[in-house]
Structure formats: structure tokens, C-alpha cells
Assembly symmetry: C2
Homo-oligomer: 503 residues x 2
């Protein structure tokens, strides 16, 4: 029997390993919490939420206590002092650990514990509010979450506005102003593309043959697709939840979830392609460095680039369905009545839907821009929690031309805020931009391009492993994109991609 | 939002509460481990076992560290000093906590960590060995587990033989010699009853109408039955595992598992009745005292009495099936071709099967007597691990007249040893004895007796809540039986029950 905790050997000197061993131990605590969090979303009985909140609060406090202890500080300083600077990975790991330590020590343990408990209970309140389409059931929780977010920002400090500090925990080395400027710059073209795509879909409406597409068949089909693009089921699995997600419970334990629509098998399938993209990033990180920055994902924007790449650039491509459409017809016989071209039009259809996770590529980013605007103002205090439904509906009408039918399909649709995830949403659009830039670069490799034409995605996954996954968090997101694609992060490849597909 | 950790108020003095708060915190750690353990059995991907072992080892070490700390000792001593002795529950709690502390401080943290890691990996090795029916894949793990058990016994101390110390952790206030004597005293009658029951079943063989009994239908039927006898699904659930079990992840979170045989719906159903019996005991403990002895199960023998009572005394009774047989016929139409009397003969059939969990009531205890004999000799060193398969087969032949076909259905069938659970098996037969004694006593209550005749088990559950569950671990098992039934634990009611049903 081997304990991974004891066999880590990244550095030459014994003394400087202590901080890395402690980092790995901290990751054991984090993955315990991740396991309890996964269970909370998938299988937890309804009466058990309060105790689960206590468990997560305890783990969160233990982790924070460890990460902010004098022992941790001493081990980190010791490693920094003794780092000969000859090993770039060790140097990058220590730089990242220093950044994390400085962030963590700014938050009092009381606040961390309160945040963890609040989000555990808030997730439950959100689920009930969403079910009942009654924002009032969630508003006091959201009030507390926003207050906690502001307190966090105050402790962390920020250059311009409190949202900077929140954004930084999901996407390092950027700022609210940078993101706002980028979003403003692409918004006009996004609106044009969306309007045109929606108009075209209206004129050439295509329907999927009538269901049911039995859930058990969808599960089998999704599993086959996920396996074929490279998701490893020996080190992962798929379960069912209200809101799809991907979570990592260990170096070889990546859990995906999705939800099923009996009338449309593509809904769960694209959900799985998306989450499997996240999952393959996690599975592609170096398991020997698990928990250490060099074996960790760098940012949510880069994470999202992986899910979007597999969902949209691979999963919605013609060549992908040349392979999978005949197989889908065997699993779901009613599909046989559909022309292949019609099916492609169906999966490229565009519409102004109220639900973000059901939105098509051409309209998706408009949902993000709306959320970014609302949560930014919530945090500054320009917008009060009670005014969220009205603000949401007003902004939605400006972008989409109508108001959501109710809060269930409006401001209650997403789980993120209930988890305390203010500052998270912009990373979705950053991910779209990165995905297009990475996919365009990957296709300049002949093997990758050939593979894609033939429906063989192993060369693409190898390219991503080499250019993205292997780096872990040793490069900043912008540097990682530069290193992988030869250019700074930009919006050209994404806008070209959208225009090619939707105009 | 309420934190249970902060609102405990069992005692009058503030000072003496510290130890109870710490006990509750320790239970948070234990239930984190229980959640990870449940996931390990139900949903963990195959490549993830090593990391799960690290997680469980970390939690186990944290728990042991806390439970054996100077702070714990000081808090316990402080509470003992200040206990006015006027509150019997507080006195019982402190007595039990003292007993647990004395046991825990005898085990070095290194041994506890090693035991946890070893059993995590051993469970995996056992599952593979069982699958391949190859004892050699498990023998080195078992070797280590036995060595650890001996070391534990040496640290804990024992009056006569090391097995005493192991048995005491499952069934307090008894001894190996007492159990051995009790088992020897009932063995001749058990053999007579078994032989006669098996012979009668041979002469009047009854078969269940041919399957399949679809698994999804079994799940629905089992759920309805479990709900009707009082298992609360708001505070629990059922999943599927190789080996059925019940585990508690929180005061309102009790998880049952079972396995399905498509040819025989009664297999999973009696599994669920059994596990639901355990589960209703856990759900009947005082949630406000969760983690504290007064809110904890007292022993495995008493636990098993609850599962056996619901499985055998309720679930295999004529009156139970007068209610449920017509419902079963609706769910499984092929049952309609079977006479009710034949169905009763079917569920009362007896046979010498190699598998303990498939054994009928009349032969079950012979399986336990065999395991008790083997593990007792393993621990003393009279029997070596390599000789377990041969010893198993020899003993089995003596009791049942034939040898198991292979180790898969022989010495590899049970999960217990792989979890380090040496000393556990005798509690099954103790549970059978207690179940019969409790059921006989309960039926002396008119409401209970009337309810049973009418298939209404609410009065029986109320009686058990009052006489057994409510006491938690404040009484020793023997005293609990005496208090509930008016007599010391004995074998009369059990032998009478078996003779009535099987002779």
C-alpha cells in the first residue's frame, strides 16, 4: 500500500518539500468537502441538509486554519528561502502558493466558516425557491451571500471596485474594468450575430422527431460519446442533478452530472460534452502533482475553454455528427425519419430562450453579459437584492425582446449565487473566447486537423494535454493562451467561428 | 440558520458541556468518514480507491487525535468533577464517554491510521478476490488486518484471549467465553431444527413463478414496503451495492443498500426489511443527542435485533403477507399463478446454502458459529490466514454436509474482515436471540398485538422507540433487554419461534 502523501518528490531539497506535503494534505481536506458537496447535489435526503452544512463548515474551517497557520507560513518561507531557482516548476509552484497564502490569510476564519454554512443552506433555499418560482424564499439567503462577498472583498482588497477581488478568485491576473471593456467591445457584433441567427432559425424552423427519447437510452448514448472523445470512466462517472456540473474528488475521480429531457436527447448530450470537456482537463492534469499548483487547473476561464471546445467546436461540428448521427439513429429509431442536414440545422438552431444553459452559441454570451452587469452592481450596492427580479427582467427584455415568464426561468435559474459564486459568470464568455482561439491553433497541427475530419479526436486531446493541461497553474491564463496559440487572448477567432456557423 | 454544534443543552452547568460539544464535533468527523465510506461502496470509480484511502486515513487520524487529546481529557475530567449526579442521562453519557476515552487512548495514532488505510485498500482487494474467486488476491491484506487486530487487542488489553478485546468494541459487557458457551448451548437444537426444516423443504419443494422480476419494479415495491413499516425517506435512501448495509451519515441521513436478483424479488425485499430495521433504530435515536452516547446505538447485537425483528418476525409472518401478497401480485403479475400458502412455504423454505446472506432463519446461525470459530482462532494464531479456505470448507462440511463450490461462495463471501471487522460476526446470533425476546415482549402489549394482526406496525415501532431506541447507549445491552422484556437475555423465545415456524 502506497500513501501518496508520503511519496511526493518534486524538489531536490528535503526542507523545501514540507510546504508541498502540506499543500497535498490541504487538498485531501478539500476533496473530502468536494465529495460531501457532490453527494449534497446528487443523493442527499431532504432532511439531511443541516448536518451536511455542519460537516462542510467543519472541513472548511479546518482547511482555512491549516492554510493560514504559522506552520504553513514558516514552511512556505523556508521553501522560498531555500529555492535555488533552477527548477521552473518549483519556482512557479512557490509563486502560486505565496499568492494563495496571501489571499487566504486576509480572510478571518469566522468569515470562512460563515460563508461555508451560508452557502450550504442557501443552496437548499435556492432549490426550493426555484421549484416554487418564489424569489422571496431565496432573497434573505442572497442578501447574506452578497454581504459576505463584500466583506470578503474588503478583506482581500481591490484596486477599483469590490468585484475585482471576487473576479480574481476565479480568473487571476485580470480586472473588472478589463472584462467590462472586452464585453462592451464584442457586444454589438454578438447582438448582430444573435439577431441574424434567430431570424434564420425562425424562417427555417426544424423540429426533432417526437420523443420520448428514453432516459436509460440517453444515458447509454452519452456514455459512449463521452468515452469516445476521451473521458476516462475508470476515473470518473456521470450522475443526475438539477443543474449540470463537474467536480473533482481526487486525482482519479472526476464526477460529471447532467439532466435529461425525454423529448430531446441532445439536451443531456451537449451537457455531457460540456462537462466532459471540464472533466478531461481535470483528468489531464498531472496526478503526481495533484493539489499542487502545477497539477491544478489555472482558472475558470481556461476551464470553460475546454468545455466549450468539446461542446461547441467538436460536438456541434458536421464531421462529429457524420460519425454519430447514424449511431444515434440506431439508439433512437424515430431519428431515422430526419434528414442529416435537418439535424445539423436543428443543433445549430438559434432562439432567444430565457434559460442560459439551454441557450445556443449565438445568444449565449448575451446571458452572461446580463449576469455580469447585475452581480457587479449587487456587489457595489447600486442594486439591492429585492430589486434583482425587476432588474433581471428589464435587462433581459433589452437584450432578448421579452421578459422571462417567471423567476424560475429568470433570476432563479442558476445555482452559482447560491454557492456564493459572485464573480464566476464572466469566465463563461472568457472561456468561449479562449476555446475558439485554442481550437483554431490546434487545427494548424496536421494530425489534429486530419483527426477532426475523420472523427478521431485523440490527436486533439493530445494537443490539449500538451499545450494546456500539462501546464497546470504554472502560467497565468493570458500567458498560457499566448504559449499555446502564439497570440495574446483576443476575440477574432471566436467572432469568425460564430459568423461562419450562424451568418 | 442554526448550527447544531452551538445549541446543545443537555446539562445545567456550562462548564460540563465542553466535552459534549467536543463529542458532537467528533461525530461530524465520523460522519464525514461515513459519507466517504458510503460513496466508496456505491459510486466510487475504480481508479479512485487510493485517494479515498488517503482521505479516510486523514479523517480517522484527525478523529483519533481529537478523541485522545489532552484537551479532551481535561474536558472530560472537568465534566466528571462538576457532575452533580442528579441527571441520570448526563451521568450515563459521562460514564460511556469515559469508557470510550480509555479505550481510544490505548491505541497509538499510527496504528489507527494504518488500520484505516489498510481496510480501505483491503476492501478493494477483497472485491477483486471475490470477483475472481481467488483467495490469494486477498490473503496478504487479511494477514495485515489480523496482525492489526492483534496489535489492537494487545494495546486494549483483555482478560482471557485477544478476541475479548475485539468483541468488546461491537458488544460491550460480554466475553468470548460467554459467547462461546451460549453458542455451544444452542448449537444442538439449532442443528436439529435446521435438519428438520431442510428435510421438510426438500419433500415439499416450492418455486417462485419464473422471472424476470424487473429491478425497477423491485425498487418501487421495496420502497413502498419500507415506507409502510416506518422508514423515513425524507431522512434516508436506498442504493445498490454488492453487499447490503446500513450506514448513518447524520442525524437525519440514514442510507440503506441492497442487491437485486431478477429471478427472485424476495431477495432484495428481505434485504431491505433487514436494513430498514437497522435504519429505523438509527432514525429512532434522539437527533438532539446525535453523536452523544444517549443518542447513539448501544451495540451491534441490539442493532441486529432490530433488523432481525423486522426481517423475520414481521416480514416473514403470515399477517404481513396477507397485506402485501395481493400488492406484490399487482407489481409482478406472474405471482398471480401462485397460491398464497405456497408463497408462505416459499418464504419459509429452508436449505443448506453456502451463502450466509441468502441463508434462511433455520440455518443462519450455523453460518455464524462457523465464522466465530474461524476468526477466534485466526486472532489467537491457532489458524494461519493461508489455511482459512481449507478450515472454512472443512467446518462448513461438518455443519452443512458439503463443501462450498469455491471461495467466492465460501470464505470470500463476506465484506466484514476486509473492513477490519474481526469480532463482529457473533453479534448476528446475539441479535437473533434479542429480536425474539423483544418481539415476544412487545406482543404482550395489546395495541402492538392488534396492530400486528391487522398489518399495522405503527404500535410496534412506537413500542420499540420507547423501550429500545430512546435509551440510546445509556444502558448496557443486557440491562436494556432486561428493562424492555422483564427478563435477562436468553434463548427461549428464539428457540420457541424457530420451532413454531420450522418444525
Amino acid at each position: 500500500m502506497i500513501s501518496r502523501l508520503a511519496e511526493f518528490d518534486i524538489s531536490a531539497t528535503n526542507q523545501s518539500m514540507r510546504i508541498l506535503d502540506m499543500t497535498r494534505e490541504l487538498e485531501v481536506i478539500h476533496t473530502c468537502a468536494a465529495t460531501l458537496g457532490w453527494d449534497q447535489e446528487t443523493y442527499l435526503p431532504p432532511a439531511a441538509h443541516e448536518h451536511r452544512a455542519n460537516q462542510l463548515a467543519w472541513l472548511s474551517a479546518k482547511g482555512h486554519e491549516m492554510q493560514t497557520s504559522d506552520e504553513w507560513r514558516a514552511a512556505l518561507e523556508d521553501a522560498e528561502d531555500k529555492n535555488p531557482g533552477t527548477d521552473p516548476k518549483l519556482t512557479a509552484n512557490l509563486r502560486e502558493l505565496r499568492r494563495q497564502f496571501d489571499r487566504a490569510t486576509k480572510l478571518p476564519v469566522e468569515l470562512v466558516t460563515r460563508a461555508s454554512k451560508c452557502s450550504s443552506m442557501a443552496k437548499h433555499a435556492w432549490a426550493m425557491a426555484r421549484e416554487a418560482s418564489d424569489f422571496s424564499l431565496f432573497s434573505s439567503s442572497l442578501d447574506e451571500l452578497v454581504e459576505i462577498a463584500r466583506e470578503k472583498a474588503d478583506h482581500l482588497g481591490y484596486p477599483d471596485e469590490p468585484y475585482d477581488a471576487l473576479l480574481d478568485s476565479y480568473e487571476r491576473a485580470t480586472s473588472t474594468a478589463t472584462v467590462a471593456k472586452l464585453f462592451q467591445s464584442i457586444e454589438p457584433e454578438l447582438r448582430t450575430i444573435a439577431a441574424s441567427a434567430v431570424e434564420r432559425s425562425k424562417q427555417h424552423a426544424v423540429k426533432l422527431p417526437q420523443g420520448p427519447y428514453p432516459i436509460e437510452d440517453q444515458k447509454r448514448f452519452n456514455q459512449a460519446v463521452a468515452e469516445s472523445i476521451g473521458f476516462d470512466f475508470k476515473a470518473g462517472r456521470i450522475d443526475t442533478t438539477t443543474h449540470p456540473f463537474c467536480t473533482t474528488l481526487g486525482p482519479r475521480d472526476v464526477r460529471l452530472t447532467t439532466r435529461y429531457d425525454q423529448q430531446d436527447f441532445t439536451s443531456s448530450l451537449f451537457g455531457i460534452l460540456h462537462e466532459a470537456g471540464h472533466g478531461m482537463y481535470e483528468q489531464g492534469l498531472n496526478p503526481d502533482d495533484f493539489g499542487v499548483p502545477s497539477g491544478s487547473a489555472v482558472s475558470l476561464g481556461i476551464h470553460e475553454s475546454q468545455s466549450r471546445l468539446w461542446e461547441n467546436h467538436v460536438g456541434r461540428s458536421d464531421s462529429f455528427w457524420e460519425l454519430w448521427f447514424p449511431k444515434a439513429c440506431k439508439v433512437f429509431p424515430q431519428l431515422g425519419s430526419m434528414q442529416f442536414d435537418s439535424f445539423l440545422s436543428y443543433i445549430h438552431r438559434a432562439a432567444y430562450t430565457p434559460i442560459r444553459v439551454e441557450a445556443d452559441e449565438s445568444t449565449y454570451d448575451l446571458h452572461i453579459l446580463l449576469r455580469f452587469s447585475i452581480e457587479r452592481r449587487l456587489v457595489t450596492g447600486e442594486l439591492s437584492v429585492d430589486d434583482v427580479p425587476a432588474a433581471w427582467n428589464e435587462l433581459f427584455k433589452l437584450s432578448f425582446g421579452f421578459e422571462p415568464e417567471n423567476d424560475r426561468v429568470g433570476c432563479l435559474q442558476d445555482i452559482h449565487w447560491s454557492m456564493g459564486g459572485l464573480g464566476y459568470f464572466p469566465t463563461y464568455t472568457l472561456g468561449n473566447l479562449h476555446a475558439a482561439q485554442l481550437f483554431a491553433a490546434a487545427k494548424r497541427d496536421l494530425d489534429v486537423a486530419m483527426g477532426i475530419v475523420q472523427g478521431n479526436y485523440a490527436p486533439l486531446l493530445r494537443w490539449l494535454r500538451h499545450e494546456v493541461h500539462n501546464h497546470g497553474a504554472t502560467l497565468d491564463p493570458a500567458d498560457l493562451i499566448q504559449s499555446a496559440t502564439g497570440s495574446k487572448p483576443g476575440s477574432c477567432d471566436y467572432l469568425v467561428h460564430l459568423k461562419n456557423r450562424y451568418l
